[in-house]
């Protein structure tokens, strides 16, 4: 009984934090229409700021809370709203997701630059972790405070949204901002308030959760990820219902602790360290699957951007040949210290090509492509026993394709944001349940993989391997462009542009979705085999969530509908970490800086860098840039 009560108390405390963070997500989503992927990063950044003031500089708790919650949070919310979010109203899911992913990378990069990751930091609980005993369970004051704050937040928000004019306006702004402005309220101010409350609750969650990380101390990635767990609770509240969101947080916290306590020994022993991290993502996946089918809606919006011109077969083969020659020259001239990163960048470019197919053409956001990359490498590692064979590649392609279709199967009903979250949950589940699970992958998640080669041509040298990977990239790019020119490619674009029209013409979106997921996963698997071939191994770190988010974001920044975007996105993801070691102290945050610049650019050029007309006219590199159609005037947009 005592054990049960202990797990219950721990569950309620964890649930309280999930409830606070999920409530923040829901408030921002309902008032701005943007699901903030950076919510966890805001919590992390504010927790670090609090640590800086309180622990490093020794300022009193009340002053630190005042500065963080009522100084830093409003400034951060105002900055984010002014710089990134104000143009996002009514934007596509892809665009708004990318902006918040960019924000996540900015905050993570900023925190890494400001707070050296090698230093151990910890925050004490409030009242020095003094304890009381209730029903034979020892509870500290910090835990009690956490639960009390969660209840106050829930009650306070309920009253605010029902009784206060600005609260009612916040509920109305997403439904119809124009109508709201006619009633005398400012949609912009309401939206700012939405960001402020969301960030405030994120910061609160971060500050409350940080003292519980006594073992690992404050860790940028861990803090960001812990708050991600709140996603599941938010989904249970269907991103709009606050009482259900609160209940979702509690259910999640309790069931996570009961699972840790009562799962059969062999399972919990197997997942000893992962269960706290694995459970919320499985919960999220299941919660998403239980959502009612989204009604297919006529969106009444037409794509207005002029799409990149699709080169014909001859043009793409010619460009590919030029590209291979350029890469051969690059291989000859670059130093050996960066050749590995360039090769891995090209392999990530292959993964990027799978994103072009999936997001650029079909409009399905997948945040788990690096998981397929890892699975591809794993299959090769198993089949070729640490080497590489062409049979291994074929099997990797088949297995990845099958897993891709299996992931698509339960998510057939999901669209847009929900689909993105489901793929994120899958990526996290695969990471905690498989890639970091010593039962499957021993030796710290590292898998030995060899290099593929063509009979008679050795790829054991780094230069030769770079050229080999460039050839595979070029072949995949030709294939992707051929798909786009095909009837199926046209169907995918049609499905992306108007799912309602697609269905009312009698076409089956579900089959198209399964196939495109399978093909994209197979391509990512090829990327994985190539990627692992460079250092002759792949580890769990290579396929973790942040890496997946980075590649999606960079390909989108450079042009999610172009093969050049995939190439440049892949190269950026591989080369930026290398660049950081040659830069001063702020270099650690270079990924965040580039992400920030990228999402700012996307505000004016949603299609990314490559399709910008000026770049096409002035920086046309043979084999790299794809010419655009001559821009036509847009007379009427319905």
């Amino acid at each position: 009984m005592e054990t049960f009560l202990t797990y219950t108390v721990l569950g309620i405390v964890a649930g309280a934090i999930y409830a606070i963070t999920a409530t923040g997500l829901v408030v921002t989503y309902t008032t701005t229409g943007v699901f903030n992927f950076a919510h966890g990063a805001v919590a992390m950044f504010c927790a670090f700021s609090y640590w800086q003031l309180n622990q490093q500089w020794g300022w009193p708790v009340w002053l630190c809370l005042l500065i963080v919650l009522f100084g830093e949070v409003p400034l951060l919310a105002l900055y984010v709203e002014e710089v990134y979010m104000k143009r996002l109203f009514g934007a596509s899911v892809v665009r708004s997701l990318m902006v918040t992913l960019g924000l996540l990378l900015i905050l993570v990069g900023g925190a890494q630059a400001l707070w050296n990751g090698t230093v151990q930091r910890s925050l004490p609980g409030y009242f020095s972790n003094d304890t009381v005993t209730i029903f034979q369970v020892v509870i500290n004051y910090h835990q009690i405070i956490t639960v009390v704050i969660a209840v106050l937040v829930a009650v306070g928000l309920r009253v605010y949204f029902r009784r206060f004019r600005s609260g009612i306006a916040m509920r109305a702004v997403v439904d119809d901002p124009e109508l709201l402005s006619l009633s005398g309220s400012s949609p912009r101010n309401t939206s700012r308030l939405g960001w402020f409350i969301g960030f405030f609750l994120a910061a609160l969650a971060g500050i409350l959760i940080a003292p519980q990380l006594s073992v690992s101390g404050l860790d940028v990635n861990l803090l960001t990820l812990l708050v991600v767990n709140g996603y599941a609770a938010a989904i249970l509240g269907r991103l709009r219902n606050l009482p259900w969101t609160f209940a979702g947080g509690m259910i999640l916290g309790l069931s996570e602790n009961y699972a840790a306590g009562y799962l059969p020994g062999h399972i919990s022993a197997n997942l000893a360290n992962q269960i706290g991290l694995l459970f919320p993502v499985v919960f999220l996946f299941v919660a998403l699957l239980l959502l009612p089918s989204a009604r297919l809606r006529a969106i009444g919006r037409m794509v207005v951007a002029v799409p990149p011109k699709i080169p014909n077969l001859l043009q793409s083969v010619r460009s590919a040949a030029v590209f291979i020659v350029i890469m051969w020259i690059v291989a000859m001239v670059i130093s050996s210290s960066i050749i590995g990163s360039v090769t891995q960048g090209l392999a990530l470019g292959v993964v990027g090509l799978s994103l072009v197919l999936l997001i650029g053409y079909a409009g399905y956001v997948s945040l788990c492509q690096l998981t397929f990359m890892g699975i591809g490498a794993y299959v090769m590692s198993q089949v070729a026993h640490g080497g590489a064979t062409w049979w291994g590649l074929i099997l990797a392609v088949v297995v990845c394709g099958a897993v891709g279709a299996l992931v698509a199967l339960p998510t057939l009903r999901l669209q847009g944001l929900y689909l993105a979250l489901a793929t994120l949950a899958f990526a996290q589940a695969a990471y905690y349940g498989f890639f970091t699970n010593i039962s499957y992958i021993p030796e710290g998640g590292a898998m030995a993989v060899g290099r593929l080669s063509i009979p008679g041509i050795s790829t054991s040298g780094d230069k030769a391997y770079l050229v080999f990977v460039a050839v595979v990239f070029a072949l995949c790019a030709i294939g992707i462009l051929a798909i786009r020119r095909s009837r199926w490619g046209r169907k995918l674009v049609a499905l992306n542009d108007s799912p309602a029209a697609f269905a009312t013409l009698g076409m089956n979106a579900a089959i198209s979705k399964m196939i495109v997921f399978a093909v994209a996963a197979a391509i990512a698997g090829v990327g994985g085999v190539l990627y692992a071939g460079q250092p002759l191994a792949i580890s769990a770190n290579d396929v973790q969530m942040f890496a997946s988010l980075e590649i999606v974001l960079f390909v989108t920044i450079f042009g999610i509908r172009t093969v050049s975007g995939a190439l440049l996105g892949g190269l950026a993801a591989a080369l930026l970490p290398l660049a950081s070691s040659h830069l001063p102290w702020w270099g650690v945050g270079i990924t965040g800086i580039v992400a920030g610049a990228g999402i700012s650019l996307m505000a004016a050029h949603p299609d990314g860098v490559v399709p910008i007309p000026w770049i096409n006219e002035h920086l046309r590199i043979p084999g790299l840039a794809i010419p655009l159609k001559k821009k036509e005037s847009i007379d009427v947009v319905a």
Binding site: R295, G300, P307, A494, S498, G506, E632
Partner: protein, 249 residues
């Protein structure tokens, strides 16, 4: 005996009701569309016309009632399955494949299993009166022209029943006249045509039968002459002065 054998209708709505929260969008709707006829659906803005189109095409599930296409009860069918049974529709707010050209928009539909036959994209675009370059990206077209592309795309699946939601908005007078002729022509080919339109001259000219919808309820059904002279319709929708001229067919 099937519904179609009972009524001979291509489309049959029986007691359809749709509620959005506490608001009744449609209440106990009965409607029939016959092969070879143009049926009009008129009513003020917010009367429930587009909701009814969504119920017919499967984008909106009704809370009560049934939808039959020919002799099949399709109430539980999704939009794709209904389309394969010969139902096509256009949208009040354009739902074109904006990244594609006019030709590609039609070709996507032609390439479906049930689409096409001997039809070609050029032939269909020409038939509906699209005069611009078929390779022009469709989102750069003026609204009127884009609506015609949407109609050509709907025709590409060779429908037995075609539902058009305000097809004349954005068209000038001569284009509207030509479209009216086309709709009569489609009916004369044995297809059922259901049209929502605010252009009363056109509706009264080309329709065989007109339903008038107000606040989600059918308040009148009849021939154009009957509707024109119906006092309830006049007060609800047409205004007190009915069009004098009776248009030729």
């Amino acid at each position: 005996m099937s519904l179609r054998e009972q009524t001979g209708a291509r489309l049959n709505l029986e007691g359809i009701s749709v509620n959005f929260g506490g608001v009744a969008a449609l209440t106990n709707i009965h409607l029939e569309v016959f092969d070879g006829q143009v049926t009009g659906l008129i009513g003020p803005n917010g009367a429930g016309k587009t909701t009814m189109f969504n119920v017919i095409s499967g984008l909106q599930k009704p809370d009560r009632g049934s939808v039959a296409l020919g002799d099949k009860n399709v109430t539980r069918f999704g939009p794709a399955r209904r389309a394969r049974l010969g139902l096509a529709r256009t949208f009040q707010r354009l739902e074109l494949f904006g990244s594609l050209s006019s030709r590609e928009n039609v070709e996507v539909a032609l390439e479906t299993k049930h689409g096409g036959g001997d039809l070609t994209a050029e032939g269909l675009l020409h038939r509906v009166g699209v005069t611009s370059d078929a390779d022009r990206q469709v989102s750069t077209l003026p609204t009127g022209e884009a609506r015609l592309v949407e109609l050509a795309r709907a025709l590409a699946i060779n429908p037995k029943l075609i539902c058009l939601d305000e097809p004349c908005s954005g068209l000038d007078d001569s284009e509207t006249r030509l479209l009216g002729e086309l709709l009569r022509e489609l009916a004369s080919e044995g297809r059922g045509v259901l049209i929502v339109e605010h252009d009363m001259d056109l509706v009264l000219r080309i329709c065989d039968r007109i339903y008038v919808l107000d606040f989600g309820e059918i308040i009148a059904v009849g021939t154009p002459d009957e509707i024109r002279n119906d006092p309830v319709v006049q007060s609800a929708y047409l205004g007190t002065v009915a069009p004098e001229e009776s248009a030729d067919r």
